[in-house]
Symmetry: C2
């Protein structure tokens, strides 16, 4: 666990520095949107998706620094989704990671545009990245396409839609699985495979990483649901109990808390099992899988 904490902390710093370099000093008539974008990007995210991208690259023998732009792009996409998700028309949240949500600070119009700006910037960064040495140049558009699919209406946005539209509906197994897999697991899965793809990994290894990503993505969202019941408001930096108040579809809501915890354990074991083709270089991914169950925020 200490090893993992050191690993996460080191990678987080690398990602933070790379993200800082993306944004100009805010100036000119559009400076507010740059301020709003950087506010949410540097509001204390765990950088899980960028770290998975880097760890995926390293697992297949690549260099983390070669995939850093892709890692950043994934965080830009994740952050845009949070800003839009917090808007009054969606979840109407005041707090995120212990800070005021974007629209509470900058107003709804700027928050909306800051989200749009982050999503667009993600694809600018991706399209402008150098392909790692030895990888064919056609791989880059393929990775961009996979990321757009995972983030789009067949992926994360589809999950958001189902989430919003299922509020107050009776808890239902098929629906909660759809929401969790698309809203959360799709982007986590593509994060895990994109770094490896950019390093030229073969399809078989990508398949193993994809299985890993889907399992921990689902486990991660279930742990989010559990923390929304059992978590500590102070540690989490956001409201607890909000899922129930809103009538959200959650894993504990459908299957009960104990069964949710059991499924989460199984998913983590399956995720680690799917890493069997890899040597010690997959140890960070193994540790991240275990950490998902233990996390407090």
């Amino acid at each position: 666990m200490t090893d993992l904490q050191a690993y996460l902390s080191e990678k987080r710093q690398i990602v933070d520095r790379a993200l800082e370099s993306l944004f100009p000093d805010p100036q000119g008539p559009a400076s507010d949107v740059v301020r709003a974008m950087t506010y949410s990007i540097f509001a204390g995210g765990k950088r899980l998706r960028p770290i998975l991208c880097i760890a995926g690259a390293e697992t297949v023998g690549g260099e983390g620094r070669d995939v850093l732009p892709a890692a950043c792009a994934l965080e830009l996409i994740h952050t845009y989704s949070l800003i839009h998700d917090d808007l009054p028309a969606m979840d109407d949240d005041d707090l995120r990671r212990g800070k005021l949500t974007n629209h509470k600070v900058f107003g709804e119009a700027i928050a909306l545009l800051a989200g749009d700006g982050l999503l667009t910037e993600a694809f600018r960064v991706l399209a402008g990245m150098p392909v790692p040495d030895g990888t064919p140049s056609e791989v880059l558009p393929r990775v961009i396409r996979r990321i757009a699919e995972a983030a789009g209406f067949g992926g994360m946005i589809g999950g958001q839609v189902a989430d919003v539209q299922s509020e107050g509906a009776p808890p239902e197994a098929e629906r909660v699985r759809f929401i969790h897999e698309h809203k959360t697991a799709d982007l986590i899965t593509v994060a895990t495979v994109s770094g490896a793809l950019l390093c030229g990994a073969e399809e078989e290894l990508i398949h193993s990483l994809s299985t890993y990503g889907r399992r921990i993505g689902l486990a991660f969202q279930i742990s989010d649901d559990i923390l929304n019941i059992e978590g500590d408001r102070q540690t989490l930096g956001k409201d607890v109990g909000s899922d129930e108040r809103r009538g959200k579809q959650t894993w504990p809501g459908v299957f009960g808390l104990e069964e949710a915890k059991r499924v989460q354990q199984d998913l983590v074991l399956e995720a680690i099992e799917s890493l069997s083709p890899f040597d010690h270089r997959a140890d960070p991914l193994r540790a991240i899988a275990r950490y998902i169950i233990e996390r407090r925020k």
Copy 2:
């Protein structure tokens, strides 16, 4: 003019068919967002940006059909920007092209996500397109990057921000130019050059097309301002006089109506002048430039 109408009508049909092929039949828990996306995509747009992309490709000797996915992507980006622009937090519009705006039909949450979905889909389509024969594969990421730049916080989104934040401020020349150039001209410019870039055109020709795009982009937004004063509500399919009621920065508001018309004429002449390196294959672009002054909607 009749030639141009036939040209526009033919290209519009080609673009419409290509756009139709992008969207699946709406089904499953996220079907509402697909319905909302297609509602706005097929709400009667002029397809100016896709047609400019195709005309740009043909001007440098390429085939329009080879750049059709890029043409569609530009329309997806344009349509997302309209959906978000119409939201209550932004311009709060009820009508667009004579139809109810997206959020008036589907609600704010779905309209927001439909916009996000269209923007993401644009990059999925771009990244998945085959590079035209004879063009090096590295050109595709470069085009994606240029489109993201034009649509991002340094381009269209920056223009939107300045537009929203300047409402009610005293009319000011530098500000209205910033808004028009970024909010409107940047995407029109990249539309004109992207088709030619994908067909492998040389930098010098791209530069000429870029000048053309900037000039007609600005002229197009000035004609929008003029139509908001002199236009016919029925023909336009949206409110007239709304710019003045909202205290929007407009070209006639800053420089007066006559001067706005004079500048628009000059811009169109400069746009046509910038096409001097090209033969008759640039005739559609020349006709489009003239049409911008004559259009009634």
